[in-house]
Point group: C2
Chain length 360, copies 2
């Protein structure tokens, strides 16, 4: 960990991790998932950090999940050897060489949701034998990518016919991101994966991996069907999770340190704009993020370098801790974390955000 | 310009500039502003590129505008010597050394909107004499930072009393970003700057710079009060400007090259999610961006690596050109532009996004 001086010399806006809370979040979720009889394969797009992914493996994770081929490349080169790319990649000539490179370094599971996508993967050379397997993506209600659950077996059979190994099925119950649907989305996930797994079995393919799990639906997960879960945001928490009720302010491990740069009657302006917080805003969000130490404050507007805050009447130059709405977006906007040490919170180090920008 | 192979070897999502359109946009706005009798000081947060800023200067810009001290640092180190930081910076001990460094390299104009902010600047060493001046920020209706127009003179006088040079006043009429208010925001800007300039004159301070101008309000700008304008987005255009009617699809110089990775009845999924396009969405926006070659298509949902598109029924693996809603946000998410050469559109080069991530 590279050392920095105290916070007063830290130019704002800056991302700050509380290492004690981070470690507690990693341990708590690992214990919960283990006690549910499930494997944990955390999504590392939330932090894009080799250091944090290593801590997740040390706490018992079976491997990691990534969203893109370039994320897989970075983590494979860092020594991670069991990587699931939970995305229906289209492997054309722009991506073939990188995927073959990753396969020389790591076991890789690829998501698929179309026969054409499977054919593109089957064009890869024989070198990948034994290191590559597939999970069929199922739409469990989020209506993004994925096949209908009852069609999973047909696609799995086509993949086997093309000489590829099918490890099972997966889904992302993204419709869990609302105040009313966290539990019902978990039920949809369970039901869809159950139908999909049966559909594979009907074709004589026994799924060894049945993978689900978003952070909001995680507490409702059951192991009777699923074998593993892939939550991401739990390591940090964010304002979305706070407002969905899946975390509490005391468990939020990452904040943006910001400075009050302007004041007018009824509002203050912080230097943490959308180029640091990200512009994500759910239908249920109270604003564009939250102030950790002023829970009644509201961020009513956001431009690239200004956050307009209504509520606390703070002097110019004050520093506050802002919780981004969607931490996965915020961490992709900056090159390093400042880390308040678990041993001494006045001592700051830094970790690189290794996979920042690796989004293809 | 570093050379790349043809587009089929470009991994998507990727940012692509059409150099011919970029150069035409730079020339057209430079001519319009000159013919209006105004100076042009373009905001470079839109592109964060040394190459593009140089082209803007070559076309007649008098200097550049930046949003942050770290952007100023990068451009000053690249040889730019007339830089306006259009932001009410809070100069504390975390920023003093960087500002002094920038002042050794470039003339710097700082925005101010408070007496306390002025006092922080006045603490700087004498070394900055002659290279530093101030513009008082005025709120012309956007209700973000800035003093009320009639209060500008009081702040300017306080700055002079603190030994600082006041060059004039500025505003950002950001309320021009709506379908109904482009022209009225330009009138607000004119009126507010007129009051503010008179308020300085009342204190015996003759403003030599009266600075305004957003891209949506630019066409309504008049030189009777203003001396310069600071548009940014005009170099590229984006879906916001398209939908506001300030540009047409033929004049959009930057698109995100994306691949169709999934298909379901009624929708296709592109690999250009919010981690490439940004999540900005105005109240007037039709969706989360536009498809340049399919104007009737709508991007109805965006997650980090998925754009859900309703309209064109394109085969898997198809490549399309996506216009981000807010180009300033999109270009901050990636490290380089691919550039389709003006001489030969099949030849691709690349330019670094030099100030990507410099947001403090």
């Amino acid at each position: 960990m590279q050392e920095h001086a105290g916070t007063s010399l830290v130019a704002t806006p800056a991302l700050v991790i509380d290492e004690s809370i981070l470690d507690a979040n990693i341990a708590r979720t690992a214990e919960f998932v283990a006690s549910a009889g499930l494997a944990l394969r955390p999504h590392v797009k939330t932090h894009k950090s080799i250091e944090i992914a290593r801590r997740q493996l040390a706490a018992g994770a079976v491997g990691i999940t990534v969203a893109t081929l370039s994320e897989a490349e970075l983590f494979a080169e860092a020594g991670f050897d069991d990587i699931f790319i939970a995305y229906p990649l289209w492997i054309d000539e722009s991506k073939t060489a990188i995927l073959e490179h990753v396969l020389r370094l790591s076991s890789v599971i690829l998501g698929v949701d179309s026969v054409d996508g499977v054919r593109q993967i089957a064009r890869l050379g024989r070198a990948r034998s034994g290191r590559l397997s597939l999970l069929v993506e199922v739409d469990s209600g989020h209506h993004r990518s994925g096949v209908q659950p009852q069609d999973a077996g047909t696609l799995a059979a086509a993949a086997q016919d093309a000489g590829l190994e099918v490890a099972g099925v997966f889904t992302f119950p993204g419709h869990s991101y609302s105040l009313e649907t966290r539990e019902s989305a978990a039920r949809d996930e369970q039901r869809s994966l159950s139908i999909a797994a049966a559909s594979l079995a009907d074709r004589g393919i026994q799924p060894r991996i049945v993978s689900g799990g978003s952070t909001p639906s995680l507490e409702f997960v059951r192991s009777s069907i699923l074998t593993e879960v892939r939550p991401g945001v739990y390591v940090f928490g964010d304002a979305q999770q706070w407002e969905l009720g899946t975390t509490s302010p005391e468990s939020i491990a990452l904040t943006v340190l910001a400075t009050v740069v302007s004041r007018s009657p009824g509002r203050i302006i912080l230097d943490s704009g959308s180029k640091v917080l990200g512009a994500d805003r759910g239908a249920y969000s109270s604003g564009f993020g939250r102030l950790l130490d002023y829970p009644d404050a509201r961020i009513t507007a956001l431009s690239e370098h200004h956050a307009t805050v209504v509520g606390p009447d703070l002097p110019l130059g004050s520093r506050v801790r802002v919780v981004p709405n969607h931490v996965c977006a915020a961490i992709n906007l900056i090159d390093e974390y400042l880390v308040a040490s678990a041993d001494d919170r006045d001592r700051f180090g830094s970790w690189p955000i290794d996979a920042r920008g690796r989004n293809r």
